[in-house]
C-alpha cells in the first residue's frame, strides 16, 4: 500500500516533468520581431517599391565616398597631400598617387566590396520579385521594367568593376558558391548582351519615375562607355559600336546641351537638360555626397558657406590646374589665390586663416609635408556649394551627360581615323566648348589641325574634371603610367587594380591580376 503511494507520486512527478518537456515545446524556429522575411514582404505596392529603390539608393553610399577616390586620386587630377604630418588613411592616398598600392589596400577592397554589394542587392531583388505576382497592386511601373532597370544598375556596377579590375567573376544570384574569375573579354560580352537585351524593356526620359533611373538612353550611354573603353581594357576596339550608341542618344532629341557649363552641377541640377543619368542626393534624405566638406578649406567654409567642419583634403595638382586658360569660364570651378567672401551686408571681405588672409597656392610643396602645407592646392567647386551647415550636398551626382556622349563620339571618330580629328569630331567638341568662352573668342574653337588626341585628353580634363573619368581617360590615351609630380613612372599592369587580398582569400576561384602577388 505504502509502495503504491510512492509509485503514484513518482508517476505524477514523471508526468509533470514530461508535460513541461513537451508543452514548453522543442520547436526551435526563430521568430523575428524587428525585421521581416521575403516570404512576408513584397505584398503591397509600397513594399515592392521599397525593394525596387534599394539598389539605386545603395549607389549613394559609395559613388563619391569610394569610387571617386579610386578614379581620381590615382591620376593627376586630384590629390590628398599630407599637411603638417597628418597622414590620412595610413597613407592610402599617397600610395594611390604614386601607384604603389598593394592587394591589401583597404580602399581597393572597399571598391570591390561596394561593387559586389550593389550587385548583391540587385540579385536579391531580382531573385525575390521574379516569381511574385505583383499585378493588381496599382504600380505605375511594370515588373518587367523594374527588373530590367535593376539589371542595368547591376550592369553599371559590372562595368565599373570591369574597368577597375578587368578580370572578374559574374554572378546573377545570391549564394552561388565560389564563382570563378572570367576574362575581361568574357565580362565585356556579358555586360554588352545584358544591356542590349534589356534596353527594349526600359522607359524613357519624361516617364513619371524616370529621374535618376535607367532609361533606354541611360542604358545606351553605359553601352557607349563600355565600347569606348573596350580596347583599353580588353584589347578589342568597338569604335563603330560606340558611335552607333552615341548617335542613338543624340538623335533621340531627349537631351540638349545646357547653356552654361555649370548648369549640370547646380544644387537644383534636376532641371538640367543635359544630364542623362544622375544619382539623386539630398542633404538629409540621401546623404554621403560631401564634396564641399572634403574639398573646402576649413578657414573658408564657415564664413563663405556656413559649413564649420571642412577638411581641405582633396585638392588638385598644379599641372592639371594649369590646363585651364584664364578666358575659359570653366576655370571658375577652382578656388585659388587670395580668398574672399561676401558678408551679410553684401560686402566682400577677406577670408582669414589665422592672422592672415587665406591664399590657396596652386603649387603644392610636397605630397608629404610634415611641417606645413596648410594652404597648398586649389579647390574644386564644380558642384555648386549651397550655403548650409550640413556636410552633405543636395546636388545630384552626374554619371552620364550629353556632352560626354558627344566627346565619346568625337573620340571614336578620331581613333577610327588613325588618331586625327575629322571635321565631324571637331564640330562635336566645339559645340560643347563654345559655351565656356565669350562669344567670338578665337580660343573657343578647335580645328582638325589643333584637335590632336593629346589635346582631346586635355579638353576632356577641362570639361570632365572631378567627374570620375580621369583614370579611364589616362589609360585610354596611354598616359596613366607616365611620370608626373611626386610620381615615378609606373608599370603598365597598374591599369587594373589588384583583386583584394581578402576577396581571393575567401574565394580561391578568383585569380589575381598579372603583376600583383
Amino acid at each position: 500500500m505504502k509502495n503504491r503511494k510512492y509509485i503514484y507520486k513518482a508517476c505524477i512527478a514523471v508526468i509533470t516533468t514530461a508535460l513541461f518537456t513537451f508543452s514548453s515545446c522543442t520547436k526551435l524556429d526563430e521568430k523575428v520581431y524587428d525585421s521581416t522575411t521575403p516570404d512576408n514582404y513584397y505584398q503591397t505596392k509600397d513594399q515592392v517599391l521599397s525593394g525596387y529603390v534599394m539598389p539605386y539608393a545603395f549607389i549613394q553610399t559609395h559613388i563619391y565616398q569610394v569610387h571617386f577616390a579610386l578614379q581620381e586620386f590615382v591620376t593627376d587630377e586630384a590629390v590628398a597631400p599630407v599637411r603638417g604630418g597628418y597622414v590620412d588613411q595610413n597613407g592610402a592616398w599617397n600610395r594611390f598617387h604614386r601607384h604603389t598600392w598593394t592587394s591589401a589596400e583597404p580602399w581597393i577592397e572597399l571598391e570591390w566590396n561596394d561593387m559586389y554589394q550593389a550587385i548583391g542587392f540587385c540579385n536579391a531583388f531580382i531573385d525575390a520579385i521574379t516569381n511574385k505576382d505583383i499585378s493588381g497592386m496599382g504600380l505605375e511601373i511594370s515588373k518587367e521594367q523594374m527588373i530590367a532597370e535593376i539589371k542595368l544598375v547591376r550592369a553599371l556596377h559590372y562595368y565599373w568593376a570591369w574597368s577597375d579590375f578587368g578580370n572578374i567573376p559574374v554572378v546573377e544570384h545570391v549564394g552561388e558558391q565560389s564563382p570563378a574569375t572570367k576574362s575581361a573579354a568574357e565580362v565585356f560580352s556579358w555586360i554588352e548582351k545584358e544591356i542590349k537585351d534589356n534596353i527594349p524593356l526600359l522607359g524613357d526620359k519624361g516617364d513619371p519615375l524616370w529621374y535618376g533611373h535607367f532609361t533606354k538612353n541611360a542604358a545606351r550611354a553605359l553601352l557607349a562607355k563600355l565600347y569606348l573603353n573596350a580596347e583599353a581594357v580588353m584589347g578589342t576596339a568597338h569604335w563603330d559600336d560606340c558611335i552607333e550608341q552615341c548617335n542613338a542618344i543624340i538623335n533621340s532629341g531627349e537631351y540638349t546641351l545646357d547653356e552654361a557649363w555649370n548648369t549640370p552641377f547646380l544644387v537644383h541640377n534636376e532641371s538640367s537638360q543635359e544630364n542623362i543619368f544622375v544619382v539623386p542626393f539630398d542633404a538629409n534624405r540621401a546623404q554621403q555626397f560631401n564634396a564641399a566638406q572634403q574639398q573646402l578649406h576649413w578657414s573658408l567654409a564657415p564664413v563663405k558657406y556656413g559649413l564649420e567642419d571642412a577638411w581641405y583634403k582633396t585638392v588638385t595638382e598644379e599641372s592639371f590646374f594649369n590646363l585651364f586658360q584664364d578666358n575659359d569660364f570653366r576655370k571658375q570651378q577652382w578656388l585659388y589665390g587670395p580668398q574672399f567672401y561676401t558678408d551679410e551686408n553684401g560686402e566682400e571681405q577677406p577670408v582669414y586663416d589665422g592672422e592672415e588672409q587665406l591664399v590657396l597656392n596652386p603649387h603644392i610643396e610636397a605630397l608629404e609635408n610634415f611641417e606645413g602645407g596648410w594652404t597648398d592646392g586649389v579647390v574644386n567647386i564644380k558642384y555648386e556649394v549651397e550655403y548650409s551647415t550640413l556636410p552633405n550636398m543636395s546636388n545630384d551626382l552626374v554619371v552620364f551627360r550629353l556632352s560626354d556622349i558627344m566627346f565619346m563620339k568625337a573620340e571614336s571618330l578620331m581613333r577610327k581615323n588613325g588618331g586625327s580629328a575629322t571635321s565631324e569630331a571637331v564640330n562635336l567638341i566645339n559645340d560643347v566648348r563654345a559655351r565656356s568662352f565669350e562669344a567670338g573668342d578665337p580660343d573657343a574653337t578647335y580645328t582638325t589641325g589643333t584637335l590632336t588626341l593629346d589635346e582631346l585628353l586635355n579638353e576632356r580634363g577641362r570639361e570632365f574634371a572631378y567627374e570620375m573619368y580621369r583614370r579611364e581617360d589616362l589609360i585610354r590615351f596611354g598616359h596613366f603610367n607616365d611620370e608626373w609630380w611626386e610620381k615615378p613612372a609606373s608599370q603598365p599592369f597598374r591599369k587594373f587594380f589588384p583583386i583584394p587580398f581578402n576577396a581571393i582569400t575567401a574565394n580561391p576561384a578568383l585569380k589575381q591580376n598579372p603583376g600583383y602577388n
Partner: protein, 1004 residues
C-alpha cells in the same frame, strides 16, 4: 625570514623561496565560566585555538582559547556539542553528564572533504573526477571590488583575470584555459545559484559564499551548449540555523594613479619645437591636462546582512550599498542591492522549498575614454580657460584635433540607470528517500536606461552646428528558465550511485527603444525634455537633423535541453562520472539546431589502496581523467541563419519621380548575409590530473592538471565570398583551434600553532593556443585581420599561430634622414614605400603563463594576506607610443618626454619597434587585519578592522599604463578601431589606480 627558522623543523627550504607571509585569522578568544570544559586538539595532539563549540539547537557557544581550552555551559548536563573549525571535519559530540571533554578534530584532509558544486547538484571533493576549483568567501580578495570575478583573481589555476581598467563601470577581462572562440563570447558561462547565463553585476560581492569553476570538458559538459569557455558557478550565502546574526561590513577607499605618462610640459614642448624648427602655438600656459580632469576619488561600501533560522526554515537577507568614484571627474557608480533567501521544509521534511530574490539598482555616470586620451593629446601651451573664464578652444587646428577635455567633461553627460533582478523559486520533493524530484523557475529581468547629453556649448556641437544633443534609450533583457530534474541516490554495499535526469528550457528576450533630438536653446533640461529640441520638427530641407532619431528593436533566442548524469563510485575508491546533454538552440541553421554533448570521466583514489594506506608521506592521492564535449552558440546573434529584410538606412532614401515632383522612399533589402548552414561550435577536451595530500597532517596539498582542448567549427564573422554574398562578412563556422596546457595548485600549511600560522597557496598555469585552421566550405581563408589601433591592422587570427598574433613590419632601423627602414622578405632593410607586402608574425599578445601566490598569516589577533600575481610570455603594444613619440603629430598633439631624445621623424607605422615584453609581477593585494577579542555572550559577536591596498606595486618593462591588458579581441565592436590582446590603444585611456581601502567587519 630568519626569525621563522626556529619555528618548525619540517619546513623544506624551497618553501622559503615562496615569498612573503601572513595568514587569515578569524579567531575570537574564549571566555570561561561553564559546566563542560576541555581542550580541542588535532590528530597530532597539537592544541587548536579558535575552534567554535556550539550547543546544538541553541545559540550558546564558545571558541577555544590560545591553548585550545574551552568551557561551555550545557544546561542540565545533556546535549550535543557541535565542534567546527576551518579545515577540519565538523564533529558532533554528545554530552551526558561529563564535566571535561577532550575533543580531537580530524583534520587536514580539508581540501578533500569539501562539497563541490557541479551543476544540478553537489559532490564530495573526494569523489570529483573533473577539474574543478573552489574558492570560498574567506579566501576571496578583499578591497574595493567592482567586478565580482576579481574576488578570485590569482586564486584559480588556469583562470586568467585581467583588470583592464580601474574604471568602476567596466568589468575585468577573463579567460579560462585560453581563448575558446575566435569571435565574441570567450568567457565562461556564469551560473548564479543554479541560474545559467546570469549577470555577475546582479549580486553584491559581499553576498557570495563560494565560487566554483568547472574547468575541463567532462565537468562542464552538463551545461552543454554554453560551456566551452568553462563554467563559473556562484553560490550566494544562505541562512544558518540559530538566532539572528547581524553582520555589517563597511569600508572606505581612496585611489591614486598608479603610473603616469611623462608628457612634455610647455617648456619642453617649446624646446622640441625649436630644435626641429616647427612653429609652436604658444598661448602662454603650462597645463598638465591629466591633472585637470582627475581627482582623488573616495569610494565607500556598506553591507548589512541578517541571517538565522530554525530546523525547518532559515533566511538570509541583506542590503548592500556601494558608492564608487572614478579617478576622473565624470565617473561614478552608485549601486544598491537587496537580497532575500528563504529555505523551508514541509510535508514531514519531504518538501524543500527555496526562494531567492535579488535586485540591484545601479546609477552610473560614465567616463569618456576619448576625453581621457585627449588629456594626453592636448598641447601643454594651451590654457584650460580664457581670461574671461570661458573654456579655451582652438578650432583652427586642422581636423579639429585639439579640443579641450576639461570643457568636454563639463559639457557632456553620459549616464545610465540600470536595474537587475534575478529570482528563483525551487521546490524539491523526496518521493522516496532515494528519489527526488526538483522543479525550479527562474526569471532574470534587467533594464538599462542610457542617457546622453551634449551642451549646446560643447566644442563639437558648435563646430557641427547641431546646437546641443540629447538622447535616451531603454534596453531590456529578460530570461525565463524552467528546469526540472529527477535524482536517484542509492548505496548498495560499497557501490554508490547518483543518477540525474533533467530538462531545461530558457527563453531570452532583448528589446530596445530610443530617441534623440538636437538643437536645444537651453541646457537646463539635460536629457529630460527631448521634445524641446528644435530639430525634430524643423522641416527645412537644410535643417541639421543629425542626432534626431527614434528607434526600437527586439530579438529572441531559446534553448531547450535534456540531460542526464550517472555518478558512480565503488567505496569512494574507483570513481566514474558519465553525462550527456542534448541541446537545441534557435539561433542555428534549420538543419543544425540540435547538438549532443557527452562526457565521461573516471578517478582512482590510489591512496586507498593497501600499499599506500599506511604511508607517512602520501596521505591522499587521486588520479583522474576525463573527456568531454561542449558547445558554443552564444557568440551568434539571433537570425544569422535567416534571410531577413530591413530598411537599409533612413539616410539613404531612394528617389521616385520625374525630377520635379517625386518622393523619397525608404529602401528595404537583405540586412545580413544569411547562413542557413550555421552549426554548433564544438569543443572536445581531454583532461588528466591528480590531487594529492602529503606529509604529516597533509600539510602540503595540491593538484596538477594537463588538458588538451580542440575547438572545431569555429564561429566567426568571416570575410564573405563577395560575390555572391551581399555583405563583406558572414557568420560562419570554419577551422579549428587547439589549447593545451598545464595547471598546478599547491597549498602549504607551513606553520600552524596557537600563536602563529602561515599558509601559502600557489596557482600556476601554462597555456598554449594555436589556430590550426580557419577554413571551411564557406570560408577559404588562412587569416583574418582583427585589431586596428588607428594605424592599420596590427593583429591577426592566422593558421599556425596563437589567436591575436601581432602581424606587421619588422623594424630594421632608421635611414640617415630619419625615415623608417623595414626588413623585406629577403631580409634587406628598405624604406617603407618599398617594403610592399613584407609583413611578419611578431609574437602573441596573450600571456603563456599566469601565476598567483597567496600568503595568509596570522599572528595572535593580527592577520595579513599578500597576493602576488604575474603573467609571463607575451608581447605588449603601447599604441600611445606610435602617436606620442612621433614628431609628425607635433602640431596636433602633445608628445611623451621620450620624444625629446627618441622622436620618430616619419609617418606613423606599426612595426615590432613598438612591441615590448609584457611580463609583469604585481603585489596585487596586501591586507592587514586585526580581530578584537570579544566577550562571549555580549552583543558583539565579532569585530575586525582591516586595511587593504590593491594594485600596490607592479614590476614590468612595459611602457604603457599597466601591463594588465585585454586578453581577448573585441570583434563585436562597431567601432572602426578595435582592441586586441596585449594592446593599449591610443584612442582611449583610463589610468590604472592604486587603491587603499580601510574597513570594518562586525557581527552582532
Amino acid at each position: 625570514m630568519r626569525i621563522f627558522t626556529n619555528l618548525s623543523h619540517r619546513w623544506p627550504k624551497w618553501l622559503f623561496m615562496l615569498l612573503l607571509i601572513f595568514s587569515v585569522g578569524t579567531k575570537v578568544l574564549a571566555q570561561n565560566g561553564a559546566v563542560v570544559t576541555g581542550t580541542v586538539m588535532d590528530e597530532k595532539g597539537e592544541m587548536l585555538p579558535g575552534v567554535t563549540i556550539r550547543l546544538k539547537g541553541t545559540i550558546q557557544g564558545t571558541v577555544s582559547d590560545a591553548n585550545g581550552k574551552y568551557s561551555v555551559n550545557v544546561p542540565g548536563g545533556k546535549g550535543v556539542l557541535v565542534v567546527s573549525y576551518v579545515g577540519f571535519l565538523t564533529q558532533e559530540v554528545a554530552v551526558s553528564g561529563q564535566s571535561t571533554l577532550r575533543i580531537t578534530l580530524i583534520g587536514d584532509a580539508k581540501a578533500l572533504n569539501e562539497v563541490v558544486v557541479i551543476g544540478y547538484g553537489v559532490q564530495k571533493r573526494e569523489t570529483v573526477t573533473g577539474a574543478i576549483a573552489t574558492v570560498k568567501a574567506e579566501d576571496f580578495n578583499t578591497g574595493l571590488i567592482s567586478d565580482p570575478i576579481t574576488l578570485v583573481a590569482g586564486k584559480v589555476a588556469g583562470l586568467a583575470v585581467s583588470r583592464t581598467s580601474s574604471d568602476p563601470n567596466s568589468g575585468a577581462s577573463f579567460l579560462l584555459r585560453g581563448a575558446s572562440s575566435v569571435y565574441g563570447n570567450n568567457g565562461p558561462l556564469i551560473v548564479i545559484d543554479g541560474v545559467p547565463n546570469g549577470d555577475l553585476q546582479t549580486i553584491a560581492p559581499a553576498d557570495i559564499a563560494s565560487i566554483d569553476i568547472l574547468k575541463d570538458g567532462s565537468a562542464a559538459a552538463i551545461y552543454g551548449s554554453r560551456a566551452t569557455g568553462g563554467v563559473i558557478i556562484v553560490t550566494t550565502k544562505r541562512g544558518k540555523t540559530g538566532a539572528a546574526t547581524i553582520t555589517y561590513n563597511g569600508s572606505i577607499a581612496f585611489d591614486q594613479i598608479a603610473r603616469r605618462y611623462d608628457m612634455l610640459n610647455a617648456g619642453q614642448y617649446k624646446q622640441l619645437g625649436e630644435e626641429n624648427e616647427i612653429a609652436v602655438d604658444d598661448r602662454g600656459a603650462n597645463t598638465n591636462w591629466l591633472d585637470e580632469i582627475t581627482r582623488t576619488p573616495v569610494s565607500n561600501v556598506h553591507n548589512l546582512s541578517v541571517n538565522g533560522g530554525n530546523d525547518n526554515t532559515n533566511y538570509y537577507a541583506s542590503i548592500n550599498y556601494r558608492n564608487f568614484e572614478g579617478i576622473d571627474d565624470a565617473t561614478s557608480r552608485k549601486s544598491i542591492n537587496g537580497t532575500l533567501r528563504l529555505n523551508t521544509k514541509g510535508f514531514n521534511d519531504k518538501l524543500d522549498f527555496s526562494l531567492n530574490l535579488t535586485n540591484t539598482f545601479d546609477d552610473r555616470s560614465f567616463a569618456n575614454y576619448g576625453a581621457m586620451a585627449q588629456a594626453l593629446n592636448m598641447l601643454p601651451t594651451y590654457p584650460v580657460r580664457n581670461e574671461d573664464g570661458t573654456f579655451f578652444e582652438n578650432p583652427d587646428i586642422a581636423y579639429l584635433l585639439q579640443w579641450n577635455p576639461v570643457a568636454n567633461l563639463a559639457n557632456n553627460k553620459n549616464t545610465a540607470e540600470e536595474s537587475r533582478f534575478q529570482g528563483t523559486a525551487t521546490a524539491s520533493y523526496k518521493i522516496l528517500p532515494t528519489f527526488k524530484a526538483n522543479l525550479s523557475y527562474s526569471m532574470i529581468k534587467n533594464g538599462y536606461l542610457n542617457n546622453s547629453f551634449s551642451s549646446n556649448q560643447d566644442f563639437f556641437q558648435v563646430q557641427y552646428q547641431t546646437g546641443g544633443q540629447a538622447s535616451r534609450s531603454q534596453n531590456n533583457f529578460s530570461s525565463n528558465i524552467i528546469e526540472g530534474t529527477l535524482t536517484y541516490t542509492k548505496q548498495f554495499d560499497k557501490h554508490n550511485i547518483d543518477l540525474l535526469g533533467g530538462y531545461s528550457y530558457q527563453r531570452e528576450f532583448n528589446d530596445y527603444f530610443g530617441a534623440g533630438n538636437n538643437s536645444f536653446n537651453t541646457n537646463a533640461f539635460l536629457y529630460y525634455n527631448l521634445g524641446a529640441g528644435n530639430a525634430l520638427n524643423n522641416l527645412d530641407p537644410l535643417a541639421n537633423r543629425s542626432g534626431v532619431f527614434v528607434g526600437s528593436g527586439a530579438s529572441e533566442r531559446k534553448l531547450v535541453a535534456f540531460f542526464g548524469r550517472i555518478l558512480y563510485n565503488y567505496n569512494e575508491k574507483y570513481l566514474v562520472n558519465l553525462s550527456y546533454r542534448r541541446e537545441g538552440s534557435t539561433v542555428l541553421g534549420a538543419e543544425n539546431k540540435w547538438g549532443g554533448f557527452p562526457s565521461a570521466s573516471a578517478g582512482w583514489v590510489i591512496s586507498k589502496e593497501n600499499f599506500l594506506e599506511n604511508s607517512t608521506i602520501v596521505k591522499n592521492l587521486k588520479l583522474r581523467g576525463g573527456y568531454g564535449v561542449t558547445g558554443n552558440q552564444q557568440s551568434l546573434s539571433p537570425y544569422q541563419s535567416l534571410l531577413i529584410l530591413k530598411p537599409y538606412s533612413i539616410y539613404q532614401n531612394g528617389y521616385l519621380g520625374d525630377g520635379q515632383t517625386g518622393q523619397w522612399v525608404l529602401p528595404y533589402g537583405p540586412a545580413i548575409n544569411a547562413n542557413p548552414a550555421l552549426k554548433w561550435e564544438i569543443k572536445k577536451e581531454v583532461n588528466v590530473g591528480f590531487d594529492f595530500a602529503l606529509f604529516n597532517n597533509s600539510w602540503l596539498t595540491g593538484s596538477i592538471d594537463y588538458y588538451h582542448r580542440k575547438i572545431e567549427n569555429l564561429i566567426g564573422n568571416y570575410t564573405a565570398q563577395l560575390p555572391s554574398q551581399i555583405y563583406p562578412s558572414i557568420f560562419a563556422n570554419a577551422g579549428h583551434m587547439v589549447n593545451k596546457g598545464f595547471e598546478a595548485v599547491l597549498n602549504a600549511q607551513v606553520v600552524k600553532n596557537s600563536k602563529f600560522s602561515w599558509n601559502v597557496s600557489f596557482t600556476g598555469a601554462y597555456n598554449q593556443n594555436e589556430v590550426v585552421s580557419v577554413q571551411s566550405e564557406q570560408f577559404k581563408g588562412t587569416s583574418l585581420n582583427i585589431t586596428n589601433t588607428g594605424v592599420g591592422f596590427t593583429q591577426r587570427v592566422a593558421e599556425g599561430y596563437p589567436i591575436g598574433v601581432f602581424y606587421g613590419r619588422k623594424f630594421a632601423g632608421f635611414s640617415e634622414d630619419g625615415k623608417w627602414l623595414f626588413y623585406n622578405q629577403a631580409g634587406e632593410a628598405v624604406l617603407a614605400e618599398e617594403a610592399g607586402d613584407s609583413y611578419f608574425y611578431l609574437g602573441s599578445g596573450v600571456p603563456k603563463y599566469t601565476l598567483g601566490l597567496t600568503n595568509n598569516l596570522r599572528f595572535g589577533n593580527f592577520d595579513a594576506t599578500i597576493l602576488l600575481r604575474s603573467a609571463l610570455g607575451f608581447k605588449a603594444l603601447n599604441g600611445k607610443r606610435i602617436f606620442h613619440e612621433n614628431l609628425s603629430n607635433f602640431t596636433t598633439m602633445n608628445l611623451f618626454t621620450s620624444a625629446l631624445n627618441n622622436a620618430v621623424k616619419d609617418q606613423m607605422y606599426f612595426s615590432d619597434y613598438y612591441l615590448e615584453k609584457g611580463d609583469y609581477l604585481k603585489v596585487d593585494n596586501l591586507t592587514i587585519g586585526y580581530t578584537f577579542p570579544v566577550k562571549s555572550g555580549g552583543y558583539v559577536k565579532s569585530l575586525r578592522l582591516f586595511a587593504t591596498s590593491t594594485n600596490l606595486l607592479t614590476f614590468t618593462g612595459f611602457s604603457g599604463s599597466d601591463p594588465e591588458l585585454p586578453l581577448t579581441v573585441d570583434l563585436t565592436s562597431d567601432n572602426e578601431f578595435t582592441v586586441g590582446p596585449g594592446v593599449e590603444p591610443n584612442y582611449s585611456y583610463y589610468p590604472y589606480t592604486r587603491t587603499f581601502t580601510f574597513g570594518v567587519t562586525a557581527s552582532f
